[in-house]
């Protein structure tokens, strides 16, 4: 029994290490972009610091055929799922190698290859799309589950209400993950709504669970159950992933106006520190391995960032393509005047 458990756990080791590595890579990239933004090398960015564990936890529970309708902070999840780091950096740069051809503001990623829907800005408007996607995938007899992510502020939106109720009514293979980082820009979650987010599931007859989003293993377990339920036809779940936005809302934001930072990098509540402790207590890693992972991340990020930065901007013509499949005569006429 003990032995079996040990073996099972041991077989999880690469998976856990990979999870930790993704968190570290994301954190390293996050800091790189923030500092590049200060130097004027990047226009804008929404840091993810503090939300790594919850995202990696979800990603660990996903299969290749699953889909993510995510939001602007989902870098750790993307990296863990296998989206190349270049895809992230090129998007931030808006260069000619960007999947979205430099059209979107930084933090609005697209990766069809890795089943990530392109990110929009209007908060939560991905949720009804996720419901439609889940409906379509089931209709097409795929075994896929859709995961949709959003912030705590998003729970006040019309789209949250629509997405949740539709998913419940049609019992869709869809998991709602609220990346509850405590703030919607300056508004603390307590003033966003007077209840715990997980309770909102009650209004739709859907299971609502709270999960410690700072602990990637706990998050993985919560996600695993919800995704399994969704895949088996038991309908959607809402996961309230409790975490903390360790950085500013965006590089344009100054959080000192409205809060003192309650979770500091390197402190006991930092999801990376929690992850390290977990790996060590499970005997999956020692300080040397962790050090190695961190150093590799720095090296990767520096190299890739520098390489992507050198990629030229898109051809101006790209600004006007893909509005329709075929360019309208109006736009053709306008482009002639512009270029």
């Amino acid at each position: 029994m003990e032995q079996q458990k040990k073996e099972k756990t041991e077989s999880e080791k690469p998976r856990y290490i990979r999870a930790y590595a993704a968190m570290v890579l994301s954190r390293t990239l996050d800091k790189k972009i923030v500092s590049a933004q200060r130097q004027g090398r990047v226009g804008f960015y929404t840091p993810t610091m503090g939300q790594e564990a919850l995202q990696v936890g979800i990603s660990m529970a996903l299969e290749k055929e699953d889909y993510v309708y995510g939001y602007y902070r989902d870098v750790p999840m993307m990296l863990h799922r296998g989206v190349p780091i270049e895809t992230i950096i090129n998007q931030i740069m808006g260069n000619s190698a960007d999947t979205a051809k430099g059209r979107q503001m930084p933090s609005h990623y697209t990766s069809k290859a890795m089943h990530f829907m392109s990110v929009q800005s209007p908060v939560a408007s991905n949720l009804p799309l996720a419901a439609g996607a889940a409906y379509a995938l089931r209709y097409l007899k795929k075994k896929s589950v859709v995961v949709t992510t959003f912030g705590d502020g998003a729970t006040s939106t019309p789209d949250f209400h629509a997405g949740m109720n539709l998913a419940a009514v049609f019992k869709l293979p869809l998991v709602f993950v609220c990346e509850n980082n405590g703030y919607a820009i300056s508004l603390p979650v307590e003033r966003q709504t007077p209840v715990e987010i997980s309770l909102k599931a009650v209004a739709y007859g859907m299971p609502g669970v709270k999960a410690d989003g700072m602990n990637f293993v706990e998050m993985y377990n919560a996600a695993k159950k919800a995704i399994h339920d969704a895949r088996s036809g038991n309908g959607p779940t809402l996961i309230d992933a409790l975490s903390y936005r360790m950085g500013p809302h965006s590089t344009s934001d100054d959080p000192s106006k409205y809060r003192t930072d309650e979770v500091k990098e390197g402190s006991d509540r930092d999801p990376l520190v929690i992850g390290e402790k977990l790996l060590i207590s499970m005997e999956f890693a020692d300080d040397k391995l962790l050090e190695k992972i961190r150093n590799e991340a720095i090296k990767t990020v520096d190299e890739k960032f520098d390489a992507c930065e050198k990629i030229p901007p898109p051809d101006p013509m790209t600004a006007f393509q893909d509005v329709y499949k075929n360019m309208t005569w109006m736009l053709e006429e306008e482009v002639k005047d512009i270029l």
């Binding site: 059209r103 392109s118 408007s125 009804p128 799309l129 996607a133 109720n165 539709l166």
Partner: protein, 324 residues
Amino acid sequence: MTSKPMNMVQALNSALDNLLSSDDRVILLGEDIGIDGGVFRVTDGLLAKYGAERVIDTPLVELGIVGMAIGMAIQGLRPIPEIQFQDFIYTAMDQIINQMAKIRFRSGGEYECPLVLRTPYGGGVKGGLYHSQSGESYFAHTAGLTVVTPSNPYDAKGLLVSAAQGDDPVIFLEPKRLYRTAKQEVPDDLYKIPIGKAQVLQTGNDLTFITYGSMVPTVMDTVKKNNLDADVLDLRTLVPVDKNAIMQSVQKTGRIIIVHEAPRTGGFGAEISAMITERGIDFLYAPILRVTGPDSPIPYRMEEYYAPNERRIMNAVKKVMESA
């Protein structure tokens, strides 16, 4: 091809039936479209024929209907959502403007959003300010959307089929005042009428009427009754509008009257007028006039005063014919 006389509701129903039967990816969704057959009966009988998985009665949430349809389209289906009255589309406006219209662009062409959003619009049913609106301008101003409006049963079917088989999102505005006013011989099978092409309903030399959707019969009746020697253009598609058809007629007659039901200020007539003035001012013998709904909500009891009618159109005719 067999055919039979159909009114617009029947022609639309026939189009949806054909589309559902010929392509598994086609799915209908909306309020009361299933068991009830739609409040205007456009989807009558389709639930029984194609089942609840493909003809979906949804909860009362327009943004959800539209949002789900977008998600379905992204994942490879061909949804045809219905909004019960165009007046109720506005809670879905963010989904339409910021999602539907921008999926292809913002994803660098990785994703696309082929769907047809059907909705009845305009007056004629004594619906007052919330069951009579003509909001085509809101959609026409939104890059990424194709905007189509038929004016007769035959066109309704052919345009709906083209819209549903295209690769971009289409706003399909059905003039409810014409739902049951006329029958035409309509083929039972699939056929297409091209998007982006106007139809010249009558040719003449004195002046040109440019109109679409709900106002086409009003214009045609006026033209016939008054023996006007006029070109009459039924635009059929507002975006992309048929510039060539318009400019050809402008060059021929030099006298233009635009007729639509929507309020004048910022109505689609403004765009038509502006595009003509921009490129054909030398051909004009008279001011381009607009005969439109007024800049006020549509009243219930006084509805007759709202939409353009023969008298108002003839006033405009007099004015443009008087000009040198």
